[in-house]
Amino acid sequence: MTQTPGGEPPAVESDSLPARQGEQRISAPVVRRGLFGVHDTPDTSGYGLLQVRKQPPLSSEPPYGGYFDAVAQALGGALEPDGLGFSDAIERVVVDRGEITFHVRREHLVAVCDKLLNDPKLRFEIFGGVSGVHYPDDTGRELHAVYHVLSITHNRRIRLEVAAPDADRHVPSVTSVYPAANWHERETWDFFGIIFDGHPALTRIEMPDDWPGHPGRKDYPLGGIPVEYRGTKVPPPEERRWYA
């Protein structure tokens, strides 16, 4: 093993100074205003100017703790014979709440899954499904596919996350490695519109075949319920009063 898993040190030293980090935080987009997150009525609390900014994306550096280091090392070692460095295939690693997430670059997803299943030090045999998540604000990486895999041999569980831009919603299918991904990828296509290249039959699975749109997406119109009273209607959920 020659390559250390994890991110490289910052190119410019001044970027890591605390003052610079503060600047970065202040320039982050605002995700919530006011104390109560109410957005349709005047805020009389006196905290109306309060702004909550978006947290920067999490990223963890080794050591990750527990068995996570062993998995990262073994994955780096397994990818090496293919001429792939750990950081070529994995964008970043996040350890949060006792769970590890490998953010995989989508072009290397199948290679990573192949190693995860077949390398004796990894052996993640049980495929735990695909869960799509739509982040409309994450420009250029709007659609995420999240995979959970479980190793019975080593009693370990990890998460893989792949992102694709909305304009190019293609993610390679892992059905060639994990046959059980078949229905899960169909479901994620059905609800989020992610196209899994190489899937044997990527058709809708839950919605009717001729359904327009992908209902799991955040921009999917929900529609309201018309009521027979002065032409009004019950507004769709996203237009009702809510708290951010």
């Binding site: 735990g128 998540v133 708290y243």
Partner: protein, 454 residues
């Protein structure tokens, strides 16, 4: 001989009809030998496509099987699902975190408490309150989960018999299951769709007389399970229909990610309660039953033995609850910003807010009133992040992927339902087998379409 032909298009000749509808057979009576003799060339290679469903093909819910048959042999099986899709995951995104339990409980309606537990443990891990859960809540959760496991397994075994034409098995299993449902009704208030497990604990304490009712159940249940086993275990008809049927060995289970009783019927004692314990399962004493037959009969044996193990676990929960005699033992997290504030009580006019709670928030504590109001209208905020929780459900690994953006509502919640996952393995079990064996194969997976389609 006069031949009467009825075509879909009136006035069409046999040749027209054959072009439009396929081969036409004219049968006028007493000419069967002639018809069969003239058709031997085709019968050799003829494949018939049969649509099973979409009505209950095996009383597990609404799904459809597209079977290609060569005689009685299934050459291809495709499962079509989606008839019971209700958008539970999408609905969750427009409700508070606490209201989320009301939705997930409706996914797999035979394992409602498992859905709730998987979701709530996920929310608790996001909140970082896993180690602050009251002891009583954990024991009550284990008690309810194991009761639910018995109910779910009986809901699998009973209809299994019914599908094979054995009404007695069904009635015996349902008789025992009714006892389980009565207990669940006594403790949670409902037979199903409980919404009883909440982020931070459970909704209510054990009711008065609850422990005694569970003890009473534990006294009569082993006898009923024994009766059921006497009826089924060595039943020649049941064995003939299940032994060697729907074969799925360890290699196939690994390749298809199959868990639960299907995996344990191949001889691998994989149980998340042992390998990755949650809710302090490591402190309970129980075994993981396995068989190595890899068939429908083995899966039945695993399920019925798990019922016996669950009875032992329930006994341990009852003992632990009986030991906790301290007054005001909390069953919900003692955090005013997360724990659901409303206390319910049974008054003369039905179930409603308890008078003590109303007196407290209206007359004594402004803080309590604020917390009540804020939690009920707005809910609590959950720090941004994502977690995946996996429980050993009755049907296999039940996972819940919960994502928060820091708001008062789930950003995304996804249930990895074992039924959904395992139905993918159906084709491997039934292809090359007989049409009649498709039914025991489905029943041995024990899928519930509410969970499959969500």
């Amino acid at each position: 001989m006069v031949r009467v032909t009825t075509h879909a298009t009136p006035g069409a000749t046999d040749a027209d009809a054959e072009a439009a509808e396929g081969r036409v057979y004219n049968v006028a009576g007493q000419d069967w030998d002639e018809v069969v003799a003239g058709d031997t060339d085709r019968a050799e290679n003829e494949q018939i496509v049969v649509n099973m469903g979409p009505q209950h093909p095996s009383t597990h819910g609404v799904m459809r099987l597209v079977l290609t048959l060569d005689g009685e042999t299934v050459t291809e099986a495709r499962v079509s699902i989606g008839y019971l899709h209700t958008g539970i995951e999408k609905n969750l995104e427009y409700r508070t975190w606490t209201q989320g339990t009301t939705f997930v409980t409706r996914a797999d309606y035979l394992t409602p408490l498992y859905n709730e537990a998987a979701y709530c443990i996920g929310v608790e891990r996001l909140l970082g309150i896993e180690d602050k859960l009251p002891e009583r809540a954990k024991i009550m959760r284990v008690l309810l989960l194991e009761l639910n496991r018995i109910g779910s397994h009986l809901g699998g075994i009973g209809p299994f018999g019914l599908e094979l034409g054995a009404t007695t098995i069904f009635l015996q299993a349902v008789r025992l299951r009714e006892n389980v449902l009565d207990l669940l009704e006594l403790i949670t208030g409902l037979r199903m769709n409980h919404a009883f497990i909440r982020p931070g604990g459970v909704a209510q304490d054990m009711p008065a007389g609850g422990l005694e009712a569970v003890r009473d159940f534990l006294r009569k249940a082993p006898r009923m399970v024994h009766d059921l086993r006497t009826l089924i275990d060595a039943n020649p008809v049941f064995i003939a229909r299940t032994r060697g049927i729907a074969y799925l060995d360890l290699q196939a289970c690994m390749a298809l990610g199959v868990t639960g009783p299907l995996l344990r019927a191949t001889g691998l004692p994989w149980d998340l309660r042992k390998s990755q314990p949650y809710l302090d399962y490591e402190t309970y004493d129980f075994d993981v039953p396995t068989t190595d037959t890899c068939d429908a009969y083995g899966r039945y044996l695993v399920r019925i033995q798990e019922i016996e193990q669950s009875l032992g676990l329930i006994q341990q929960c009852v003992d632990r609850l009986a030991e906790r005699t301290m007054p005001n033992d909390p069953w919900l997290i003692q955090d005013a910003k997360i724990g659901w504030p409303a206390r319910l009580s049974l008054g003369p006019d039905g179930l409603g807010p308890s008078p003590e709670h109303i007196a407290h928030i209206m007359g004594q504590s402004m803080e309590a009133l604020i917390h009540h109001f804020k939690l009920v209208t707005e809910g609590f905020r959950v720090p941004a992040g994502q977690v995946y929780t996996a429980l050993e459900g009755p049907k296999g690994e039940l996972g819940c992927h919960v994502v928060s953006d820091g708001g008062t509502r789930p950003y995304r919640a996804h249930l990895r339902d074992p039924s959904f996952h395992h139905l993918q393995a159906l084709a491997m079990m039934v292809e090359g087998g007989l049409l009649a064996d498709v039914i025991p194969a489905i029943a041995s997976i024990d899928p519930v379409i509410g969970g499959v389609d969500r």
